[in-house]
Symmetry: D2
Subunit: 328 residues, 4 copies
Amino acid sequence: MYQVALFGAGRIGKVHAAGIASLPEAVLRYVSDVDGAAASALAARHGAEAATVEQVLADPQVAAVVVASSTDTHAELILRAAEAGKAVFCEKPIDLDLARAKACRDVLAASDAFAMVGFNRRFDPSFAALKARLDAGQIGRAEVLSITSRDPEPPPLDYVARSGGIFRDMLIHDFDMFRWLLGEEAVAVHAVGSCLVEPALAGLGDADTVLVTLRTGSGRLCQIGASRRAVYGYDQRIEVLGSAGMLQAGNLRRTEVRLATAEHVAEDLPPYFFLERYHEAYRRELAGFFADLAAGRPPSPSLEDGVRALELAEAATLSWREGREVVL
Amino acid sequence: MYQVALFGAGRIGKVHAAGIASLPEAVLRYVSDVDGAAASALAARHGAEAATVEQVLADPQVAAVVVASSTDTHAELILRAAEAGKAVFCEKPIDLDLARAKACRDVLAASDAFAMVGFNRRFDPSFAALKARLDAGQIGRAEVLSITSRDPEPPPLDYVARSGGIFRDMLIHDFDMFRWLLGEEAVAVHAVGSCLVEPALAGLGDADTVLVTLRTGSGRLCQIGASRRAVYGYDQRIEVLGSAGMLQAGNLRRTEVRLATAEHVAEDLPPYFFLERYHEAYRRELAGFFADLAAGRPPSPSLEDGVRALELAEAATLSWREGREVVL
Amino acid sequence: MYQVALFGAGRIGKVHAAGIASLPEAVLRYVSDVDGAAASALAARHGAEAATVEQVLADPQVAAVVVASSTDTHAELILRAAEAGKAVFCEKPIDLDLARAKACRDVLAASDAFAMVGFNRRFDPSFAALKARLDAGQIGRAEVLSITSRDPEPPPLDYVARSGGIFRDMLIHDFDMFRWLLGEEAVAVHAVGSCLVEPALAGLGDADTVLVTLRTGSGRLCQIGASRRAVYGYDQRIEVLGSAGMLQAGNLRRTEVRLATAEHVAEDLPPYFFLERYHEAYRRELAGFFADLAAGRPPSPSLEDGVRALELAEAATLSWREGREVVL
Amino acid sequence: MYQVALFGAGRIGKVHAAGIASLPEAVLRYVSDVDGAAASALAARHGAEAATVEQVLADPQVAAVVVASSTDTHAELILRAAEAGKAVFCEKPIDLDLARAKACRDVLAASDAFAMVGFNRRFDPSFAALKARLDAGQIGRAEVLSITSRDPEPPPLDYVARSGGIFRDMLIHDFDMFRWLLGEEAVAVHAVGSCLVEPALAGLGDADTVLVTLRTGSGRLCQIGASRRAVYGYDQRIEVLGSAGMLQAGNLRRTEVRLATAEHVAEDLPPYFFLERYHEAYRRELAGFFADLAAGRPPSPSLEDGVRALELAEAATLSWREGREVVL
């Protein structure tokens, strides 16, 4: 059984702590956080101990670390944990700065370190099933990918200010889905964006409503539509048109209840946000991490995947700012 | 935290063991089973101990027992556990014999025992939401209830032979849903049945495909359609027509993937069977049990609910056998 | 081209007049109605003439008559038109009185008359497609048929008073669907009913909410649920469970628009009532009538089908009144 | 009653002939076509006469003409008919050449001529209902429009060669929908395109799979995804995200039958192509034409609408060819 340390006792740290607890092959040994009380509370809930980063890395029984601390600490923790011989699962992104992310990737690539980036959507049961069917040829060759990605409501402005902008913060997931689903890199990126939800974002040099178009080397096309607001709930859909059909992964519903009245026939809403929508995906990505580790397989998604998605976010930001198609 | 003992380490026992493990307010202390190896294995998986019934009941630290052993042991275990002062959660049915079930209920009614029957469907998120909307008046007054209840495939013949027949074994859940949803008792029952799936059932005096009609005192109507076979998966739907609308609770889907080809636009199937479909319901019914216990509330569904559903199963069996409407 | 006369210039007469106008193989020649002004108006609209029954039957150029007059005139008009050598399309029912309906059928059976009864639902595109798929074996052998049949609102009391009761007036369509879809006769009928929508119906010896169960000779089962009120619109659904799957024919929607708000995701309602829902079915049944006529095929549904459905309505009425299963 | 002449007896001419026949306020008087036999056959079917353009325009009883002839004749016929004092309904486009289309518009704008362009999709019941709900504020302010527009299969290469390219031939409808739904003009257009369906199109300087992004002056965004092939049928969907919700207009289905088997739960396909999908829209646009004419209202969509959509098609073509965002 793998002994695991968790860095970060915040919202996503709690998700991963519960995920580890549900896996028979792993046990949570330590929780580390700059907020010692938060670390202690979360550790207590799962029979683990609060510890410093140094204590964690010095303990030879710790086989793996889960990095769920603030974004600016990711790269350093990855490097230190890998150096200490731990397998590393790190929440996206590696870093908001592309150069730092690449440097981190390069260091690990030169070693035999085991590091996985938390693009959880690859593990969503519906998206994973769509990918499996695509790979099985159920729609022939994929031609057009459409991704809809809308948050239920905009984040606080202070979060936005340090988020790296909507393309790095929010669409990075969608860029990873594009690469993963089509299995091919983009050769051109175009993005438009507006502040339609929160005018104050303009002052931060950010947008809240964006459309991105990508073209791959073989001419396949992808459109991503993202918004910081969808009042009906977290809207996460994927559609692939292929030469022999179409695959769609639709939204979940909170319940399967329908109400017919004199006005309409109404279904229940999608889950509110990512914690509800990707609950199972978070659990499965950790299971995948430990399965790769046990099998001696390179983990997937890799740090390279993290870098590539960030490159697309950079290109989209540039395209949007300069009003031009960016060739990669 | 409640220390809990589990009687029965079979399929449903495992579900409840995992359910207890997921609840912060309870901890599994003992597992007891006539198959000692099964008890030990399940206990080990959850940090509990294998024990005899006597050991469990003699331990004053055990606050509650979960009865998930074979049906013929339910009534006796309920009685002994209640006598020992334990709170009791018992899988349906109390007993296949109505007289024994009533006797058990009567003994507990004369004490201050705390006993709940496991009609898990009341705790299914969609069915519970439908009930809440019904009670909130979203469709006015309920007039007609339709329940569809189909297993994916018939059970082994030796299971059928000791099951008490389709009405007691399978439709008892639907009879409970009828009582729970309409909040009123039946005054007349009519049932028809056939052996269309498994001809050998006829030799056992059982049916595999049945339709039941119920009428309440105020004239409201209910139809239940049940089958031992639906090749597309476990079919569990509820529909209520009311004076101001209709509520429906539809099937879940394994994923939200849809495939459009030159032939059709295809959704994914419903979950295979009850373990998949009612996974969340099993967890929530145990949570409800401990919540009632903590709050000092009478548990729901009660032993009385268990007896009433069994009475309807008896009446339906009689109606089917004699080809006549049975007045209650 | 067939010259056609229409008896009845009321609501359903207008539907058939427009239907005839849309068919290249038929032309409306006469309209006859006790209300001469109504006959003249409808005739004028379609380039036809108002005429008496006698004039119509005396005109050798009239090849076919469509009987859409009041129910009590159907049997006589069928007999007279057949005697005059006209092909006859008659709205359901032949007569509310079973003996008269049988007598009418017997007279025509003894001749070589061509007469079709207007069970329009057989011609609904969705129901017809379901039937074709059933016959093609897409779900193996049919085992259970469920029919939902709900009007949007109850008819006026004076209509009800002369309607023959809900089983003859409304469920006769469903009884025909049962016979047509399963291709087998019922051996037992059970019905329950209540006055939940319009209490005054009780005084007329009628019900507004009913459930009917039928069993065929080979043990196949059917349940019909009907109500005089569904505030969300005309609810017309069919479901067939078979040994290898399930076929469902769902409601249409007025448009394909969906609205997602903070409350729900809402579809549009079903069509309001039969004129909207079965618009295409009415057109296709007339097309079928003329196609059978041109091909020299016996028309379907036949007068025999009309009699059989009425027999089931009688049996259901008896079952409901006496609270017992009726064996046929 | 308006006497109407039809120019063009081909596929779309036949649709309009039947549409005119179904309208009580119009009657088809003449059919004109370079293929005289086709004109005669269609005229005979609707009780009209074959005639030359000159004969039609010289007949003072002809109030309106419907131009459904080949695209290169549209502008001239519009001009001649308007000059002759006829109301003009013209199939899209006015002309494939923007300058000629503008010239035609300018001539008519200087007169009091009545001319409507056949953007039939505005009259589709679902799209029209979506527009009405949008205008009624059901989703607050519209922010993002997504249009999916896929043909079932590519046209013959010789058709493509004279079609003006996918943006002028196919997306012109979508550009009109964009303008109509958002009620605002585009300030920037970006398009990408590939030959994924029919490689031979590349040799014609055309694409078969395209994505277009538009931005309006107020920052609202639109994405259009179009393909010459969707094997599951004509895919015509619209989605609008607004500040208070989302409106979607989905595909129709050929029937409402669903089939559940051990593999999937399958719905019926969308209609095959535009004749089936927009059958009702074609009828309603003619009804709208005559209603506007009778009311003395300017017709909508106007020639100006035809020009504006063509301008967007030009801009998209340029953007795609040059790999850059085009500012308008």
